[in-house]
């Protein structure tokens, strides 16, 4: 049987959902070795998974390899999906584990949640104002300058279509911690923008 993950390195395309194939049905078919279903799964989730992995790793080739590994894991593990979460959060959790394994040797930066909980005050301070002044290009650059844990939570919250409880499930942390991490990510983003002296 051909490895259906062969093309997963470029799993970066957008497409409309095939209404005839729900996610659960796709996984059922994948579990039976249906390569067409696997291709459809790529179309449905590949781009999002790739973007998320790339956001965390910052390395395109590595991200492509991780997506390949993730899709291979889906191919082999589809039958084990128990429907306790959405398919999207399930596959992203797989990708996260693959990423963690790949980066283990590089000592993936672990950010303490106590630090991450450094939330901005209720009133917009100078750092928030920096975000008010910022242009998109600067924000993108600042996101790429964040710690991986911050990039990860922002990507999960805004790039995957997952709800906050689903993000919490992927990260295996409470929803409140997800919110703290998001707030801390934005604070860090503003700091970067301020440090760069954006005056737009």
């Amino acid at each position: 049987m051909n490895d259906p993950h062969r093309n997963a390195g470029a799993a970066a395309f957008a497409d409309r959902r095939d209404p005839a194939w729900g996610d659960a049905e796709l996984l059922r078919r994948i579990g039976k070795g249906d390569e067409d279903a696997m291709a459809a799964f790529y179309r449905e989730h590949g781009r999002v998974v790739f973007a998320q992995v790339l956001l965390v790793t910052g390395e395109r080739v590595l991200a492509e390899e991780i997506v390949q590994d993730t899709m291979l894991a889906v191919w082999h593990g589809a039958a084990s999906f128990r429907g306790e979460s959405s398919v999207r959060s399930w596959v992203i959790a797989i990708a996260r584990r693959q990423t963690r394994d790949r980066l283990r040797g590089r000592r993936l930066r672990v950010v303490d949640d106590a630090f991450l909980a450094d939330q901005p005050g209720p009133d917009p301070g100078p750092e928030v104002m920096a975000l008010d002044r910022a242009e998109l290009a600067e924000v993108k650059g600042a996101i790429q300058g964040l710690a991986s844990a911050h990039r990860e939570v922002l990507g999960l919250a805004f790039g995957t279509g997952l709800s906050l409880p689903e993000v919490a499930g992927v990260l295996q942390i409470p929803v409140g911690t997800v919110k703290s991490r998001l707030s801390a990510a934005r604070t860090a983003l503003n700091r970067i923008l301020n440090e760069k002296g954006q005056n737009l």
Partner: protein, 315 residues
């Protein structure tokens, strides 16, 4: 809502930014809370950055690209920096004052041709490629959903939220009541202004209209044939209206959208084929010779809001 504050909590804000459902109370609060709208705008900018990076990530070789991936085939006439409508009868130049507008709309594809690859309902927006738009005519409003019928007959279902920017144009004279803030453009005769256009807005555009008189103020004495505009200086200007008077409500409700009217939605494509849009607009049909100048610098929230404002008044 946040138990410790009167404002939305982060979960609601994130849900709003990502187009997920928020509670009615939160929705109502957001619609009237400038601070929460600013917070939503800030998170929107962060989300835009993430989405933009994701879009860039998607630009890799695609050996397995599916054959029915959508193509951008429509011209997108509403996203030009300069829109010229018709020939010269009354040169109407709108210098638009930017305001803030934020909101989310989810566009789901349905109807004939969806996914066929021969046509698309969404087109990218020049100057900000990650933005997309759908346009056509208003087929119907169903609850919070707006269905747009494109020129090719495809149907786009647009789900609005409380902060979705809605602008409506058409037979809306009945919505001009005492106390309404308006800007009127028309011709003056014997001290009375015959209205060609009325813009209902608390923050009206700055109008420079060669050959046409404009007046801004508050409506009084509203009736079936006209009303009086009371300017900030207290001057009272009688205004007459007719069936030809075009009315634009810059902050409209769903019920004010006009069936069959030219309609567009703009926003961001989501990962699952949805479009998280910023606005649903029915721009007015400006007269022959009207020029609507819209300046779009980039993908920033400010620039996009400029665009939305401009489109609301006549894109």
């Amino acid at each position: 809502m946040n138990a410790n504050s009167t404002h939305l909590d982060l979960e609601d804000l994130i849900a709003e930014v990502t187009g997920q459902a928020i509670g009615g109370r939160a929705r109502e609060h957001l619609a009237g809370c400038e601070q929460c709208q600013l917070e939503a705008n800030r998170w929107n900018l962060v989300a835009d950055g993430v989405r933009d990076l994701a879009a860039e990530a998607a630009q890799v070789p695609q050996p397995a690209r599916p054959p029915h991936i959508r193509r951008h085939v429509l011209a997108g006439p509403w996203r030009r920096a300069t829109v010229i409508v018709g020939s010269v009868a009354a040169a109407l130049v709108l210098l638009l004052v930017a305001g803030t507008a934020a909101g989310l709309v989810h566009v789901h594809l349905s109807g004939p041709g969806s996914g066929s690859g021969s046509e698309t309902t969404l087109t990218s927006v020049s100057g900000c490629p990650r933005l997309e738009q759908a346009h056509g005519t208003l087929e119907r409003v169903n609850g919070a959903d707006v269905v747009i019928k494109t020129a090719s007959g495809q149907l786009v279902t647009v789900t609005t939220t409380a902060t979705t920017r809605l602008a409506a144009s058409g037979a809306l004279l009945g919505d001009i009541t005492d106390g309404t803030a308006v800007t009127v453009a028309g011709t003056r005769s014997d001290g009375t202004l015959a209205a060609d256009f009325v813009v209902v807005s608390a923050n009206p555009p700055s109008l420079t209209v060669p050959g046409i008189v404009t007046v801004t103020g508050t409506v009084a004495d509203a009736g079936t044939t006209g009303f009086t505009v009371v300017t900030s200086a207290g001057t009272r200007v009688p205004v007459t209206t007719s069936g030809a008077t075009a009315v634009t409500v810059s902050h409209a409700s769903l019920s004010q959208l006009q069936d069959g009217g030219r309609t567009m939605a703009i926003g961001y494509p989501g990962p699952d084929g949805t479009l998280s849009a910023l606005a649903v607009l029915q721009p007015p049909n400006w007269p022959a010779g009207a020029h609507v100048k819209v300046s779009v610098r980039n993908c920033s929230s400010t620039a996009i809001n400029h665009e939305i404002m401009a489109l609301a008044y006549g894109g």
